[in-house]
């Protein structure tokens, strides 16, 4: 992706929001995150890809909620009261990411991001742009532009 957020271009320290899906840790650039909400039920969309859980009402705005686990090929998330929706703003669209839990806000140096290991499946290669080593855990940085539902391809 050629498109970069301003933070990626200028700062040598960026803040990331880390969260977990199953046993794995992931992160998003904090610049994309608008807010974090508890799980609310959604309205099912007809003919939507499986990873689109439905539409939610965020103070009058209608936005889709994506099951990140499903999107990443980690299996379907069964939403429960502890589940969390991260509201993010990506490419001029607002979207909710359904994840298991939000863990932390971390400050990292983008230069420290390591490339995704070569063992990658197609999905890993497409959606994970790199990893940060945080003590003994690996935090996978999500490529937000790729993770969004792709127009037309997912439509149906």
């Amino acid at each position: 992706m050629t498109e970069q957020t301003p933070e990626e271009q200028t700062a040598d320290r960026v803040e990331i929001v880390s969260f977990t899906i199953g046993e794995q840790a992931f992160c998003l650039d904090i610049g994309h995150v608008l807010e974090i909400r508890g799980w609310t039920s959604t309205t099912t969309l007809p003919h939507a890809p499986e990873y689109v859980v439905g539409m939610m009402n965020l103070r009058g705005a209608v936005l889709p909620v994506m099951d990140l686990s499903m999107r990443l090929g980690l299996g379907k998330t069964v939403p429960e009261s502890r589940s969390v929706i991260i509201i993010a703003h990506i490419d001029k669209k607002s979207v909710g990411f359904l994840v298991d839990a939000v863990s932390n806000i971390l400050t990292v140096n983008p230069a420290d991001m390591q490339p995704t290991p070569d063992v990658s499946s197609a999905k890993t290669a497409a959606f994970i742009k790199g990893v940060y080593m945080q003590e003994d855990t690996i935090v996978r940085a999500i490529d937000v532009h790729q993770i969004m539902p792709q127009e037309n391809m997912a439509a149906a």
Partner: protein, 728 residues
């Protein structure tokens, strides 16, 4: 500068509106002196603004137009049929010029040349007064033009005085008058004072004449920046009770920056006629133009020497006589929309609050429920008021349509006039914008096919000039716009014959007159080759209909053979809200737009017929309609074994085709706020938009047109692409 420019063009819109309604009034015989004054002021302001931005063509044309209006104002010419027609053309061209200037477009050199020539011809019957109109100097429109005329000739936008100031002061037999000599120090200008304003104030004290002495004016190349070489000789014929002190008061603020001498003199009845002071209404005012050249005493065009030998009355400041304008502000549409969105969210939050209150056991707590009741009322009023901001009168739209009518009647060689009723009716801005095309289409249609030729009209006992009436009104929460012509009406036999030939109806079908009329809206009825066959109308009306329906509107046509045709459009007040039927399918709430809804019914099994692949049809009035299970079409469930417990909604699409939608239950009809899906997601087949219900849940709005199968299309393939491709 670009801000100023934008402001000027926005003002132009308003001014053109005034001009246009003035023309309408004149045409309908409602015009009076004030109408013409208002029109004059409009053209004048456009010219003045155009001067500030160096729009020479605009100025030239506006100036010629203005001269005609001035002649009209001073009753030198009369507003007869021909002149009004000319002024309408001039109006059209002027608005073209304004548009071109706004968008920096070039207009063909010859465009409007004939209109300009006609204007000149009309305005200069006695010759002379407007001969310089084509060379108007831009600089003349800068307030207080210190135009020193290039060479020796000095001209200032003030008239001369053909009157000898040296009238013997000792002669006390005439009317007392004041001779005022005024010359400004450079400081007067640098402090922002303007002699013209002072003189205007003076003119309110009586009859004022002025002459400027330019003998001290230096050649241009010797003029320093402290230039002040003009001396004005003013003569004031005071109104009753005006004393010298009153005059001094006018100059109070400039006393230290000028040389002022006031002497009392006397006028005789037989004195040389005075040039009247032009209405100093709006600065910049009437130009004499540097072009007047070497005769500093040439009367300026507007100030014809009065005939009777009596001093002419100073015209009152016409600018002050205009009706008080509603004070308005201009706001960016984005801001308004943001406000509307916020209020929409507020209303939804309020509904959610109310709903959760009802679920609480403490609902007996009356003070809380009272407060919530108040909140509901307030948020409702708030929403209405905010929506009203987006509403604007259809006047602008109607004026555009008047022009379309004039142009198409000219092309068609028919004489027609437009009657506009209810142009102050307010409609959402987006609606008015999207009405332009369908209305244009309808008006062209009316002129081309509705109105007869003048000979036919006379033969039918109608006035030779056709009338097309465009009317707008609010009716039961909707806007109704109707277009009526007094033409020949629809030739139903021909329409029916064509419809039968095209297989739209069968020969044995029993159709009412209105059914036949509305066949014109059917796609496939109007194709190019029907135009020549059909003496009535019917060109592309299906396009009009689909555009109106896209706005959530309905269109209907009524025709009275020999007397005319009326097309009525009924529209929602705003695009943000629509009427819908709330239904449930498999626990999901969905909304079916009422626009498409014709009937709801509970089918008896006897009326439902099975076909291949589980397709079902509903027999109704001898017709078999396809049944579409909405739940199945949207992928909420697989095929139902029976429709026994289903409710059916009979819908009719834009194409006029019908089908029955099967749903689980019908809840109620309600107004819903439309929320687009594309903004944060993408369009979904079968779904037009979403809305938020009182409990905060989202309900999807069904796109009914996609739910009507066409021949050879199975129910399941209604919505394309059953599989979706994963992004690898």
């Amino acid at each position: 500068m670009s801000d100023l420019r934008d402001m000027f063009f926005e003002e132009c819109d308003d001014l053109m509106e005034v001009l246009s309604s003035g023309l309408d009034d004149l045409q309908n015989g409602n015009g009076d002196a004030e109408t013409i004054n208002a029109m004059f002021r409009s053209v004048h302001s456009i010219k003045g603004g155009g001067g500030a931005f160096g729009l020479d063509r605009l100025i030239n044309f506006a100036h010629a137009f203005e001269n005609v209006l001035e002649d009209l104002r001073s009753e030198r010419i009369e507003a007869d049929h021909g002149l009004i027609a000319l002024m309408f053309s001039a109006f059209d061209h002027l608005s073209d010029l304004v548009d071109a200037a706004r968008d920096d477009l070039e207009i063909a050199e010859h465009a409007g040349a004939s209109i300009l020539a006609d204007l000149h011809q009309v305005s200069a019957p006695e010759g002379g007064t407007t001969s310089d109109s084509a060379e108007v100097d831009v600089a003349d429109f800068v307030p207080l033009t210190l135009d020193i005329g290039g060479e020796d000739g000095a001209s200032i936008p003030l008239p001369d005085l053909n009157f000898d100031l040296s009238a013997p002061a000792e002669d006390t037999s005439g009317t007392p008058a004041f001779a005022i000599e005024f010359s400004a120090d450079p400081g007067l200008y640098s402090r922002g004072h303007d002699p013209a304003l002072l003189f205007r104030a003076l003119s309110e004290l009586g009859t004022l004449t002025a002459r400027v002495d330019t003998t001290e004016v230096l050649p241009l190349n010797e003029v320093g920046d402290h230039f002040s070489a003009l001396t004005w000789h003013l003569n004031l014929l005071p109104a009753a009770g005006v004393e010298e002190d009153d005059i001094r008061e006018v100059f109070e603020f400039v006393e230290s920056q000028c040389v002022l001498e006031i002497a009392t003199t006397f006028l005789h009845e037989d004195d040389t006629p005075l040039a009247e002071l032009p209405a100093l209404a709006g600065l910049p005012d009437e130009p004499d133009g540097g072009t007047a050249g070497d005769t500093p005493t040439t009367p300026i065009p507007t100030s014809k020497p009065s005939k009777g030998g009596k001093p002419a009355e100073v015209k009152p400041d016409t600018g002050k006589k205009s009706e008080p304008r509603n004070s308005t502000i201009r706001v960016d549409l984005d801001r308004v929309d943001r406000l509307i969105n916020l209020v929409g969210e507020l209303v939804i939050s309020e509904a959610m609050l109310r709903q959760s209150m009802n679920e609480l056991p403490v609902s007996a707590n009356s003070s809380v429920s009272e407060a919530i009741g108040q909140l509901k009322t307030l948020s409702g009023v708030l929403q209405e008021s905010v929506m009203a901001i987006r509403a604007q009168p259809v006047r602008g739209l109607f004026q555009r349509m008047s022009r379309i009518m004039r142009e198409s009647s000219r092309t068609a060689g028919k004489d027609a006039r437009m009657l506009v009723v209810g142009d102050s009716t307010e409609v959402d801005k987006t609606v008015t914008e999207r009405l332009v095309e369908p209305l244009t289409h309808m008006i062209r249609n009316s002129v081309d096919h509705g109105l007869e030729t003048a000979e036919d009209r006379i033969q039918a006992g109608k006035p030779a000039q056709g009338t097309i009436k465009l009317e707008a009104a609010h009716r039961s929460g909707r806007v109704v716009i109707s277009l009526t012509d007094d033409g020949a009406g629809i030739n139903r036999e021909k329409v029916r014959a064509i419809a039968e030939a095209r297989g739209l109806v069968r020969a044995e079908d029993d159709l009412t007159d209105s059914d036949v009329d509305n066949l014109l809206f059917r796609p496939g009825f109007s194709t190019a080759d029907t135009v020549s066959e059909l003496s009535g109308r019917g060109v592309g009306l299906d396009v009009v209909r689909s555009e109106i329906q896209a706005l959530g509107g309905r269109i209907n046509l009524q025709s009275d053979p020999g007397k005319g045709t009326t097309i009525t459009i009924s529209l929602p007040l705003t695009l943000a809200v629509m009427e819908g039927m709330l239904v449930t399918i498999e626990g999901e709430s969905l909304v079916v737009p009422t626009v498409a809804l014709r009937e709801t019914l509970q089918p008896g099994q006897a009326n439902v017929h099975d076909f291949c692949d589980g397709d079902r049809g509903l027999s109704m009035n001898g017709e078999i309609l396809p049944i579409v299970d909405l739940g199945e079409a949207l992928g909420f469930r697989t095929k139902l074994s029976t429709l026994e417990n289903q409710a059916l909604l009979l819908i009719e699409g834009e194409s006029g085709r019908r089908s029955a939608l099967a749903v689980d239950t019908i809840i109620e009809q309600r107004e819903v706020v439309i929320k687009g899906l594309e903004q944060n997601y993408q369009s979904i087949p079968g779904i037009a938009a979403a809305t938020i219900l009182g409990n905060g849940k989202i309900a999807l709005i069904v796109d009914t047109d996609q739910m009507i199968p066409t021949a050879g299309q199975s129910q399941l393939s209604l919505l394309t692409g059953q599989e979706h491709a994963e992004v690898a």
